[in-house]
């Protein structure tokens, strides 16, 4: 099992260029997430998906779009890159487990990250 993979690992863009980041998981997970990590701010959720064909906005969605055409893949697009989008991007996936008192558990497994620089 490869777990969660991300492509590419590094990318440098000029302001205004576009690109797509690919996330793939082989664990048959329903839920997938895109986060960005900036120094001193932890990780912040960009978009997420609760199943094939669904997407929803997270905490910081502006400037990004996503698609989940296949269950195993979750794509993150930047239509017109800006320097403020320089960051490390992590994809994660989770299934659903069950804890006490019928609690749902969404333990997330993270990909290796993509370091994006926009100049």
């Amino acid at each position: 099992n490869a777990g969660v993979t991300q492509t590419p690992k590094f990318r440098v863009l000029k302001t205004g260029q576009s690109m797509t980041l690919l996330c793939a998981q082989d664990m048959n997970h329903e839920y997938m997430y895109w986060y960005r990590q900036d120094p001193g701010m932890g990780l912040r959720l960009i978009h997420y998906s609760v199943g094939e064909g669904t997407t929803a906005k997270g905490e910081v969605p502006d400037g990004y779009n996503v698609s989940r055409l296949k269950k195993q893949n979750f794509l993150l697009g930047l239509e017109s890159a800006a320097p403020s989008q320089t960051s490390v991007y992590f994809c994660a996936s989770s299934g659903v487990g069950y804890g006490p008192k019928s609690l749902y558990i969404y333990e997330q497994y993270f990909g290796p990250g993509t370091r994006l620089t926009v100049t």
């Binding site: 997430y33 701010m41 990780l43 997270g58 994660a92 804890g99 997330q108 993270f110």
Partner: protein
């Protein structure tokens, strides 16, 4: 809006010493997660804490959850250099489909 705050943000420890990282959150939640991140690497799940009073231990790390105080702690016992990393706590609320809100992270450095 859910807020998650960790302290300290930076922790420099000597090998063999004990210390605690604190994670406070602002909204009722029964689920709290701790992750470890090595420099330039991805996040590794350490603990999943469910319900009040939950305690989990793995090696020199022990995590606990007090949902009434909205507080989780990560206690480090007899630190060793291999524990040097950034530690994150993260919280999701009951109806959130697992959307995590992360703390800022605590950068732990263990010195000989």
């Amino acid at each position: 809006e859910l807020k998650v705050e960790q302290n300290p943000l930076f922790l420099s420890m000597q090998e063999g010493k004990n210390y605690t990282i604190y994670c406070n959150y602002s909204t009722t939640s029964d689920r709290l997660y701790w992750y470890r991140q090595d420099p330039g690497k991805s996040l590794e799940s350490l603990f999943v804490l469910l319900s009040n009073g939950a305690v989990k231990q793995e090696g020199r790390l022990m995590a606990s959850l007090d949902t009434k105080a909205r507080l989780s702690t990560l206690h480090i016992t007899a630190a060793v250099h291999d524990l040097s990393a950034t530690y994150f706590c993260a919280v999701d609320i009951h109806t959130s489909y697992g959307k995590l809100t992360f703390g800022q992270g605590t950068i732990l450095t263990v010195h000989p």
